[in-house]
């Protein structure tokens, strides 16, 4: 019996909690892509770099605060810097909209033109991010490292294995829940949120109802900036800031959006968790879990890993392909041409 419990704890510790955390981060990132998609009607390839940019600004402000001796106790100081990161990112996104996308919007260009422009923005941001903070990894997490330590868990349960929850993981889950609830409240309950949905649903009719498209677009960018920055900072707190890893988030994010149904906020969240759990489940080495569960003589020799972690984006890709083949509108019937 304890063997099974131990196996369960190992599973929870190495698969469930990390996947849940990663899923929250993906969901936030995907929400940004889906919002842009439904309001501006293009797939924003700059989302990954936007996340990186927001994170970089937050890191720089964090360092500044730290140099002043400011801290948040057991919470990471980055939390205090986050609003400024969001603000700066929102400002930059509004500027890109003003000087890049708006022109194509007034010209009613095809969506692929927007996609290409977003690729240009992505590369500028890519350069700026490295210009600001260099190409190296940075660790900016401070405060208490663990929310639930291994010792505390063992003392509490008496098991051999321990479920460890890092502060960054707990923070990710809590912040993601708060943000998602706030976003849905905004979209469902406020006048502006409803106008945004109306604009996404039927642009011409929204205009006829007196909804100001420029305002809707601006608010969309600001929300995207907030979602992207929070997602990026949480990802950075959780796994350390690596510039390239934000570019690599692009594929899982797109996969999540399409799996859930493009343009559907709820779809982006579900999609994020589907991708995250698939990725972690497929790339986890089950040797330890199996050693507990199976009789001693059947214990596996190898790692029992379905796919090595280098191929983790293959998981997103395969899921993406399956969805495109089987149900291109995604789980929640999003838009498809």
């Amino acid at each position: 019996m304890t063997d099974y419990l131990n196996a369960l704890v190992v599973f929870a510790n190495f698969v469930f909690v990390p996947a849940l955390t990663y899923g929250c981060q993906l969901a936030l990132g995907s929400l940004g892509v889906t919002m842009i998609y439904s309001v501006l009607r293009f797939s924003n390839f700059a989302q990954g770099e936007t996340m990186a940019f927001g994170t970089v600004i937050t890191i720089m402000v964090t360092w500044l605060l730290q140099s002043w001796g400011v801290s948040l106790g057991f919470l990471p100081t980055a939390l205090l810097a986050l609003p400024i990161g969001i603000l700066v990112t929102a400002l930059v996104l509004l500027l890109t909209d003003r000087y890049v996308y708006r022109y194509y919007r007034t010209k009613r260009s095809k969506s692929i033109t927007f996609v290409m422009a977003s690729l240009g923005v992505m590369f500028i941001m890519n350069g700026v991010v490295r210009l600001l903070l260099g190409p190296n990894d940075q660790n900016f997490a401070d405060g208490e490292r663990f929310f639930l330590t291994a010792d505390a868990f063992r003392a509490w349960t008496g098991l051999d294995e321990a479920l460890v929850i890092r502060t960054s993981q707990a923070l990710t889950i809590i912040l993601a829940v708060i943000l998602v609830v706030a976003l849905f409240w905004f979209l469902q309950r406020t006048k502006t949120g409803k106008a945004m949905r109306a604009y996404a649903d039927n642009e011409n009719l929204a205009l006829l109802s007196g909804i100001n498209p420029d305002r809707i677009v601006r608010i969309t960018w600001i929300i995207t900036a907030a979602l992207a920055t929070v997602a990026g900072v949480l990802y950075g707190l959780d796994k350390g800031y690596k510039p390239l890893s934000y570019y690599n988030l692009l594929l899982p994010i797109f996969a999540a959006v399409i799996v859930g149904g493009i343009g559907k906020p709820i779809g982006a969240i579900v999609g994020g968790f589907i991708i995250a759990f698939s990725e972690v489940i497929v790339t986890y080495a089950y040797k330890k879990v199996l050693t507990y569960v199976l009789p001693t003589d059947m214990a596996p020799d190898g790692l029992v890993q379905l796919l090595s972690t280098e191929y983790k984006f293959a998981v997103s890709f395969v899921i993406l392909v399956i969805v495109l083949l089987v149900k291109p509108t995604g789980l929640f019937k999003g838009k498809v041409l």
Binding site: F42, I112, L119, G120, M122, G134, E310, L324, L337
Partner: protein, 463 residues
């Protein structure tokens, strides 16, 4: 953007093109005179390869409006072809695990056919998807079971110098064709899945496949040696060392430089001749590459021009200019797009193989989306989407800027920050960051050209 309104200005392209290419030649000559001829030729060779890649992308974007964000993957497939075709086979590795690899390959093929069979048999029935999934999972498990020990054995064979299967030991030029075929195969697969859906989906799917292809090449050591790189790819042209010893070459150099050599005493004569031979050998090798590459470029360019003027080309352009109408007229839009996508990717694959050949090595770690996807896009857009000559010009010009931007950027930063003094941390940071400026500049160039000159330097000619 790919749609050209009927009232867009008609430029006289021949004059523009001649001037543009003359300017290009002038720039290269300038580099030759001020920096060195070897450098000018190196840049020229890479310009030609870039031009071919841009041509491939132009086929997809300019002819059909297909947005391929996975150029890197197709180029890397071309590079892979050079290993498979030209490297000598590693006999011990084949003995150690070759059979298992082949068997695993057969298992995978069998799995695919089984999955297709199940798909046909159970189409529309319940459990259809699950049955296919079961077949694929069983197939994957079996092939992994066969493959894994084989891979371990192969990678254990003399890992410092081989540790992989090697290739077929054929002349490397064949790899250019095979590289094109590999890229075409990958394009077929992606096109089958993503074409006919929203245009963004192709972009996302190509982004995915290219990341996966490069990940495979980085991690499957038995195939590519992974990050240990495969160096010493055989060349289609002579080696410098051979040339330096070849009497005919020494005689040639002596004859060409008879003017400057005359009047030197015999010891000086030998020494000067020696350095001349060394320099000339390097230039000669580069010229050989230039000739070969130029041949390929002209061939592909000619084929592109012919194709665009054929009935097929007219249909393709008709589809691009009005997809809805073409669809209504019963034209198979998706089928045509698939052809174009495959053709364009094949051209990129060929260029990828040529690049690995020129480098003389295959380094999976060097494939970055920045250099291999984005830069090519800038070339196509700057050159003039839809115009073949424009793509070539874009390839030349943008590559030149890309290469020269780093030293110029560094020099500029250095000059601008020199007042800070050498100890300054900020100055060091700015100097270190000069390389990122060129990424930013390229992004800005893309956006500016898209906005202010959407038809590029050489706009597509109305016919």
């Amino acid at each position: 953007m790919s749609q050209r309104p009927s009232n867009a200005p008609l430029h006289d392209n021949t004059v523009r093109a001649s001037i543009a290419f003359l300017v290009m030649a002038g720039l290269l000559i300038l580099i030759g005179v001020t920096q060195s001829w070897a450098l000018a030729l190196t840049i020229l060779n890479l310009c030609i390869i870039s031009a071919i890649m841009a041509l491939g992308v132009n086929i997809q974007w300019g002819y059909a409006g297909l947005f391929n964000v996975g150029i890197m993957g197709f180029a890397a497939l071309g590079g892979l072809a050079t290993i498979i075709i030209s490297m000598p086979p590693v006999k011990e590795a084949w003995q150690a695990g070759g059979m298992r690899v082949l068997l695993a390959l057969i298992t995978i093929l069998a799995t695919i056919s089984a999955a297709l069979f199940v798909h046909k048999l159970f189409q529309g029935k319940r459990l259809h998807g699950w049955l296919i999934a079961v077949v694929i999972i069983i197939g994957v498990v079996i092939s992994r079971y066969i493959l894994d020990p084989g891979v371990a054995a192969i990678e254990a064979v003399n890992p410092a110098s081989t540790g992989y299967l090697g290739g077929l030991g054929l002349p490397v030029v064949f790899a250019w064709i095979v590289g094109g075929c590999l890229a075409a195969g990958a394009a077929w697969l992606i096109g089958k899945i993503a074409l006919g859906l929203r245009s963004d989906y192709l972009a996302i799917a190509t982004l995915g496949i290219s990341e996966i292809l490069v990940a495979v090449m980085r991690n499957e050591d038995w195939l590519t040696r992974g990050v240990k790189n495969v160096t010493g790819l055989p060349r289609p042209v002579p080696y410098e060392l051979e040339l330096q010893q070849a009497p005919w070459f020494i005689n040639l150099v002596e004859r060409l430089n008879s003017g400057s050599l005359a009047g030197l005493n015999s010891t000086d004569h030998t020494a000067v001749l020696q350095t001349l031979v060394v320099d000339s050998a390097s230039i000669f090798v580069k010229l050989c590459y230039t000739g070969l590459f130029a041949l390929v470029l002209i061939l592909i360019l000619q084929l592109c021009v012919l194709a665009l003027d054929s009935p097929w080309g007219r249909m393709v352009r008709a589809i691009r200019d009005n997809e809805v109408a073409a669809d209504a007229m019963g034209k198979d839009v998706t089928g045509r797009h698939l052809q174009i996508f495959i053709l364009g990717s094949a051209v990129v694959g060929i260029a990828g193989a040529m690049l690995a050949t020129l480098d003389g090595q295959f380094t999976p770690g060097s494939y970055s989306p920045l250099r291999f996807t984005f830069l090519i896009w800038v070339m196509v857009i700057v050159g003039g989407s839809g115009n073949n000559l424009g793509a070539v010009l874009g390839g030349f010009l943008v590559w030149l800027i890309w290469v020269e931007a780093e030293p110029v950027g560094f020099w500029l930063m250095d000059a601008l920050t020199s007042w800070m003094g050498d100890g300054s941390g900020l100055r060091k940071h700015l100097l270190d960051s000069a390389q990122y400026m060129r990424v930013i500049i390229m992004g800005a160039v893309l956006l500016l050209v898209m906005r202010f000159s959407p038809w590029g330097l050489l706009p597509e000619q109305n016919r």
